[in-house]
Structures are given as C-alpha cells and as structure tokens.
Assembly symmetry: C2
Homo-oligomer: 526 residues x 2
C-alpha cells in the first residue's frame, strides 16, 4: 500500500492544502518522504459531518456487523505486513521486535473489543417489571440499556505508533461502543497513521458501513486538533500525551456550548517502593530489574518508574550502588523525536541542578542521533518534599531515588504524591504490615498497584486499569487500556412502558441477544 | 428533636458566626424561627478535613456496617415523625400527602442503597488468571475492584426538601459507594435540613463510624458552596438545581488544581409528542393527563412536560381546546420560594410577548401567596425554530404546544432540541412507523423515553435513568436517581501480583463476599 500524504475523510482520500509536513527519522536525523498535506477547518467540518451522519446507522447496526468490522481492521493491519513495521521503525527509531510486539498487542486489542461488541455485556441491559397493583402508585415497566455517546475524537500518543494511535485502544473501544471515530494523526508517525487509517477505511467499506464511521485528519500545529474537539458533533475525546496537551484539550472541551468529557492520560512518575524486607533480601536483583524497567524503550513509557522510595538502612547503599552500576552500562539510545530528546536533556540537566539532589549515575555516551543518556538521581525525603519540581515527570530513561528516614516519612511522602497510573511495592512477607499501612493511600493515589514486578508493560485484559487520579488522567473513573475502556463512551437510556414493538433488542422480553441482564435486581442470562 | 439553627460539623453542632438566615414560609409569607448561623471558610475547612480523615476508615469498614448505617439513617428519619413533615410543609408549601410520599421515597431510596452496599455488585470485581507460560511474555495475576472516589459535596434541590436534599439520592448513593458526604443545606428548607442532618449524624455515631462521614453546612450566599467545591479534599459533586447554578459549580470544579467531576442535574423541557394516531383516538384524555402533569406540584418538577409537539390535523384543535379548558380550571398555587415565584411570573410574561406565540389559557386567580398561575402557550414549528428562548425551561406550571406542519418538520424540531431528562411519546400502533423514525433521535437527546404516560414521577429502581445530554445534566453518562447513581462515585483500581495476604476481600480467591465477579471474562458468583 502506497503512502500518499493524504487525509482520509470518510470514504475519500483528500490532500490537505494548508501547507505540508513530513515525518522525521530520528535515527537518521532526516525527514521522510512523502510530504503530507495539512488540513484545516474545512476538513474537520467534513469529517465531523460524516461522523454525525454515520452515528445512528452505525450504532444501530447489528452487533455482529460491528464485531466483524473491528476484526477486519485487525486483519487489514496484519495484511500491511513488513511495510507497516518498516515505516513505524523509521518514524520512531523503535526496534523491529518491539514494533512487531506492539502490532500484536494492537491486533489483539482490536479482537478483544470485537468480542466485547459481540457479547454485549457493556449494554448493561436492566429490566424492572411493572407493578400495576402497587399502592399508592403502580410502577411502570422500566428497561435500560447503554448506548454510544456519539462521535469520538482520538489523539494518538507519540510513544506507541500502533497501540495508542490510529487503531489503538481509544479507537478500538470507541468503535466497539458504537461511536464513529475521527483521529488526529500524531505528526511523529504520519506514514504509519496513513497506512493504519487506510486499513480501517477499507474495513468500513467492506462492511458496508457508512463512510463517516472513520476519518483521519492531519495538521501541523494544534489548530486542527482544537477545531476537532470544539466541533459540536464530537461528544467525547480520547488523548494520550503530555500534561500540557491534555489540559489544553480539557479546557477547550469545557468551554464548548455543550461541554464534553476528555479522557486524557497525561503524566505519572509511578512510585516504586522498596520495602525493608525486600531490600534486605533482594537489593541487587531489584536494582537490576528496576534499571531494565527505567531504560526499556528508552524510558518512553507512561508507566516508567520515575521515583523510588526506600527506607534508610545499610542495604540502601547496596541498592543504589547496584542500580548505578547497572545504569552506567546502558548506552544512550535514540528517542522518538528531536523534541522529546531535547525536553529529556533539559529535564535531567535541571534535575541535576536542584539543591540536595545527587547525580548517582549516567549511561554510556554513544553516537546515536537524537539520543537520551540514562540518568539516575538520589535525594532524601526532606529535600523531595521541599522541592515541588522533583515530582515532575521527566519523559525518558531517568529516575529519582528518595531515601526516607523512617516509616513515618515514607508514609508522608506517599500521601504528598499526586495521582499516578501505577504504584509498585517490592515486598517480602515481613513487609506486609508496612504494606498494609501504605495500601489505603496507594489505592487513593494510583490506578494500578503492583507487587514484586515492574510497572512498564500494561496487559490488555478485563481487570487492567490504565488510569488514575489527576494528573495521571483527567478522569480517574476511567481506564484507557483493558475491557472497561469501553465504558467511557457509553451512556444509559431508560425506556418506560415502551410498546414491545418499539423496544431495542437488548431489552426485549425474550432476550434475543442472549445477554446477561439485571432483572428486578438479579443477574441472569435471560 | 429541637431545631437549633446550628451546622453539623462531624460529630458536633456548631453555630455559624457569619450572619444569620431564616427559613421562609411562602404560604404565610413570613419567616420561620429559629435563626440559623451562617458558616464560612473555617467550617468548610473543618468539615472537609474531617471528611478526608474519615474516608479510608469508612470505605474500608465492612459492607455490612455501611449497609446498616444507611438503614439507620432511614429509621432515624422515620423516627422524626410529624415534626419533619410539618417543618417541611412550612418551608415548602407542599401538601402533607406529597411530603409523606416524598419521605417514603427518601427512606425507600436509602434502603435500596443500603441493600446495594451490602450486595456489592458495584465493586465490579474482576479477576484475570495469571498465564505464567504465555509466550513471548507471561501474564501477571490481575484483579480489579471499584473503590469510592473520596469525599463528595452535595447540594440539595429546592423542589424536593427530602428526596433530593440532605439524605436524598446523591447522599444515599455516595454513602453507599463509601464516600463521606458534606452537604450544603438549601436555604429554602433549613429546618428540614437540620432535622435530617441530625438523623444522619446520630446514625454515624451509633454505627461507631468516624465523625467526618457526614457534615451539614449552612451559608447565606454562594460563597460557602463555592469554597466547598474548591476544597482539595472534595473529589466529586452532586447538584440538582438551575442551569446557572450547576454551570457555576462545574466552572469552579474545572479550575481547581485537581479538577473534579460535577454531576449537575439542571434543565429540561421534557418534550411530549402526541403522534397522529394517539391524537385521533385520545386527544381529550391525553390533554387532561398532560394538564395534570404540567400542574402537579405547582409544576415544580425537573420532568415537567414544558414542550408539546403535535402534527397539524383536525384533532389538533380538539387537543389544544381540551388542554386549555382543563388548565383554566386549575387555580393558582403557592410556589416553593418567592424567588421561584417571581422567576416564573417573569418567564411566562416574556413568553407571552414572543412574536407568534399565543397565550392559550391561564389558570384561575386565587389569593394564594407567592403563587403561580398555570399558563399554556401555543406556536408553530417555524416560530419555535426561529426563537431560541422558546426552548428555555420555565420552572413552574406552564407548557408550550408547538404545531408541526408535517412529519419532516416534527423530525427537524426534534433534532434541534437540546439534551433532555425525558421525552414522551403518545402512540397508537398506527404511529409505530413514525415513532421508529423519531426514536434514534430521542435516544441521542434524552435519558428516559416514555410511551403513553407522563414524565413527572421518577421511579427509584434499577433501570431508572434521571439524566441526559447537556444541558439536562453536566454528564450524560450518569443518573442521579436509581441504583446506577452509585457509579458516579466509584473508580477502578487494579492489583497486579499482590500477595494473597494483601488482597482486598472483593478480589480474594475464595470470594468471601460471595460477589458476582468476572473471572477471565465470564460472570459467575464464585
């Protein structure tokens, strides 16, 4: 499949006329052909108009049609073959194996959401029987199902050109919910976006669905994305990226005549607690695993462990020394974009300048272009609590070890932290009492709590939560990964005394969709 | 129980020192003793501090404790006896039977949420088994439950001194979710608020729960409510009231350092469609039922049918005439407050002045104080679409009949409408084809769709949705009435590879809470 540099507006490929932009190969330090035409408000208007027109027919089509359509997207992505991986590699400098894994994750995610669409448990079908003889007033026949909220705008992430992008989790869950999707392509991987966008466009056509179910917009600055979020047809937004970018979209969405929710996954330092028993028994192996997690993917994960909390003890030095040694062996690697690399360089320079912060180790210099040198810092809890900037996320292969004088100080630091995507405990049975003290706070602070593992790596499954209190996300009641990501794009509708002939299938008496339903307060598949 | 005019801050009764305010009897046109002391930021700070301190112990207490506590609130409210009804009557001018009914509804609602708290289905317990041998990477043990979001601020409604107030649906659902609650008393029913507040305070004490589980604040202007929503300890807000009031809270909540959701139920005209077959067969009986619904409770319901859509036909005049006749027999009645009565009077005066709007009927003058005269207006669709103000809610016993020239125009008007709490269809089997054309739009526009009934009267049940797209509410994904109101105050937390000894009960292997859980994608009570 040829990359043409066009936007995909419904069933058409449209060349933008508001200037051109090109993808960039950070490893070669060079632009990549072809030039992409940037779109403007006219294309936002057309894409959103198509999406609005497609909404009712798409959401009302049989669930089996919806499921097969989403499966076809997965198949079409696989059919792109090596061309997709090669383009993504050029645009991101991520290794081939990682991108193949990410493609597998993306395709698996689409298949999970296809199976959810087919199964329909998210419809939350609920029936309350009428009570015609109730006194003083009879009760009506009440039935409820969830329906799609409307067209969704999706903004892909820089760090996952496949799994959190054009056909990533936001798109997959919105399509499964019955929402048309308008994606704003991330400028860092324009070619990858077009390839995947065409895979979706083809699936829309082959399924005979209305063309507005999917569009892909391209723009150079923030304008096209802002116009997209402001468009009245858009009813919800999915975003993964920086805190500043996420908050800008939240702001636009809240100023609309009809405010809409923005599900922005933004910023997290993912505190990593090494409790005393674990420190005593496994200081070196934890240190090694931790450094692997910090440097994995050049540290470009939302779940990177950017903050370590450890109690002061004789083994603390062992842990820090082992981590420093392991990190010093890691070479500089190419980051996703020159902008990300520059921000990282700036971030670690500023961190090293903070009073009371020691630069413990840095990785080995290489001649990689656009590169990030791993960096490990250390400080104590008093200093950490005194300097707000030490809690800021530095996106890249860096972390800060904070030594706490005692348990009270560790609890104080934990309570001080902002909202997080994850919190990790390294624990042994003798640490359970301390863990029990920390857990209520960690539940309040984080969307996912891990023990004896590392936070990088986010499983796509039923129980996953990739979310958390602000600023980890803009809405802690949601997850952007896992089956319940679909809940973001649904709203309930109640039907009171509707004639049987007019009832939606999900709440008809004979349960034609064979759903699990709540009938008079009892769950049953009837 | 004595009404003292004090606030309830945790376990204490505190007299505010920021001026005094009194409740008002609109029927007698006179203030009611005693004077209430208004609080300020110091009391907000104390109440929120207590709530934050109570959060972990309250949410982590056994569900049975939580359920019994909520049941005790219901019992304590009943134990207030006639004193509660009499005070509510004086403060609202609502009839005794209505207030007794509303008390029954409030108590029933508390018992429903107590049973939900005990049953725990809302925990959404989900378990994904580990796959240690999976290639290329093993899968961890992943478990998820929902936990309470944190302390909730509740603003009661003027029109339901019991069911949407201190111990109303917002409080009941927040307490059931595990959230401490800080209520800002509605100034229109201060005495009722104190009585109910003391019933809750006693239940907190009797259950041995931390005092911060409940506080009741009193203030004269908007300041205390604004400080409450802005307080960092507050994590969510429940509000029922005007569009302006709701949007002001949404704005404050979005400007916080940590933005929080506001669930505001605000404004709805509840379109009422009389389809041709129903019009031909039942014009008069529909007209009579409609007028009863418009004037019920002096029209002071969020679900009042304020807009009628009817196709132009020979029977249209029959319907309008019958409605006019029925309405003309309705006398003026006392509204909840002088402010509401003045706003109503102003609203109907302005509506009558709109070009192309006919005043079809008005109710009979009486000498009721603070009264509202029922008023019925009519116009055509062209006029309705040309004048945005005609879609505004007039809170009180008034409605506007809009005649549409044909089906196309009816669909056009439907599509033009803002979000609504309800939409009602009067249909006969011969109308089903037209109803099918309208339903997709109604689903997009409203939280509840009724057939052959009237929208006033909101059942508290599992399938109820009292919500809808903006401006009906600030979040169409939520309901403020019915079992799923609890979902507003919950967020998911995932536990990855947590040692069994540290797992919360809801996700322990042997299912000690006997919950319905999703295990590897399958629902089972195991």
């Amino acid at each position: 499949m040829q990359i043409t540099g066009e936007m995909l507006i419904g069933g058409s490929a449209v060349r933008g006329t508001k200037g051109t932009l090109r993808a960039f190969d950070p490893a070669r330090n060079a632009e990549i052909e072809p030039a992409f035409g940037a779109g403007g408000s006219a294309e936002v208007e057309r894409a959103c108009g198509f999406a609005a027109a497609a909404f009712d027919p798409y959401r009302l089509a049989p669930l089996e049609t919806r499921a097969r359509f989403i499966e076809a997207i997965a198949d079409n992505i696989m059919a792109l073959g090596d061309a997709l991986i090669e383009r993504a590699q050029a645009e991101s400098a991520l290794p081939k194996a990682r991108l193949e894994g990410e493609r597998g994750r993306t395709v698996g995610q689409l298949k999970l959401f296809a199976s959810l669409a087919r199964e329909g448990r998210w419809l939350t079908a609920t029936l309350d029987s009428p009570l015609p003889d109730r006194k003083p007033l009879p009760r009506s026949d009440l039935r409820m199902q969830k329906i799609a909220v409307g067209p969704v705008a999706v903004f892909g992430a820089s760090n996952f050109p496949l799994a959190f992008s054009v056909a990533g989790g936001d798109t997959a869950s919105a399509l499964a919910a019955g929402c048309p999707v308008v994606v704003k392509a991330h400028p860092a991987h324009l070619g990858t976006s077009e390839l995947v966008g065409r895979a979706i466009q083809k699936a829309v056509q082959d399924a005979g669905l209305p063309e507005g179910v999917f569009s892909l917009l391209i723009g150079a600055g923030n304008e096209i994305g802002e116009a997209l979020v402001a468009h009245p047809a858009i009813k919800s937004v999915g975003f993964t990226g920086s805190r500043r970018g996420g908050l800008a979209l939240v702001d636009i969405a809240s100023r609309r005549r009809e405010p809409i929710p923005v599900f922005a996954e933004m910023s997290s330092v993912n505190p990593f607690f090494v409790l005393p028993g674990a420190l005593a028994k496994r200081a070196e192996s934890i240190a090694n695993g931790f450094v692997e997690s910090v440097t994995l993917g050049v540290g470009q994960f939302c779940t990177n462990p950017g903050l370590v909390l450890v109690l002061d003890s004789p083994q603390t030095k062992t842990f820090i020394d082992a981590a420093a040694q392991a990190l010093a062996k890691k070479g500089a690697q190419t980051m996703l974009t020159p902008g990300i690399a520059a921000a990282y360089k700036d971030g670690i320079a500023r961190r090293g300048d903070v009073n009371g912060v020691q630069a413990v180790a840095q990785g080995a210099q290489t001649d990689a272009a656009c590169s990030a040198l791993p960096a490990l810092f250390a400080t104590n809890a008093t200093q950490f609590l005194a300097e707000a900037a030490l809690e800021d996320e530095i996106f890249g292969p860096s972390s800060l070890i904070v030594t706490c004088a005692d348990v009270g100080e560790m609890i104080k630091v934990t309570e001080y932290l902002e909202g997080q995507l994850t919190a990790t405990l390294q624990v042994e049975p003798e640490d359970h009492e301390l863990a029990r003290q920390l857990l209520p706070t960690l539940e309040r602070k984080a969307g996912r709590i891990l023990a004896n593992g590392f936070p990088t790596g986010v499983e796509v499954s039923y129980a996953m939560v990739h979310g958390g209190p602000f600023p980890a996300t803009s809405d802690p009641r949601a997850t952007s990964v896992g089956a319940t990501a679909i809940d973001r794009f649904l709203r309930p509708v109640c039907y009171q005394d509707l004639p049987a002939a007019l009832l939606p299938e999900a709440v008809q008496d004979d349960n034609p969709l064979k759903l699990w339903r709540l009938r008079d307060g009892k769950l049953a598949q009837s």
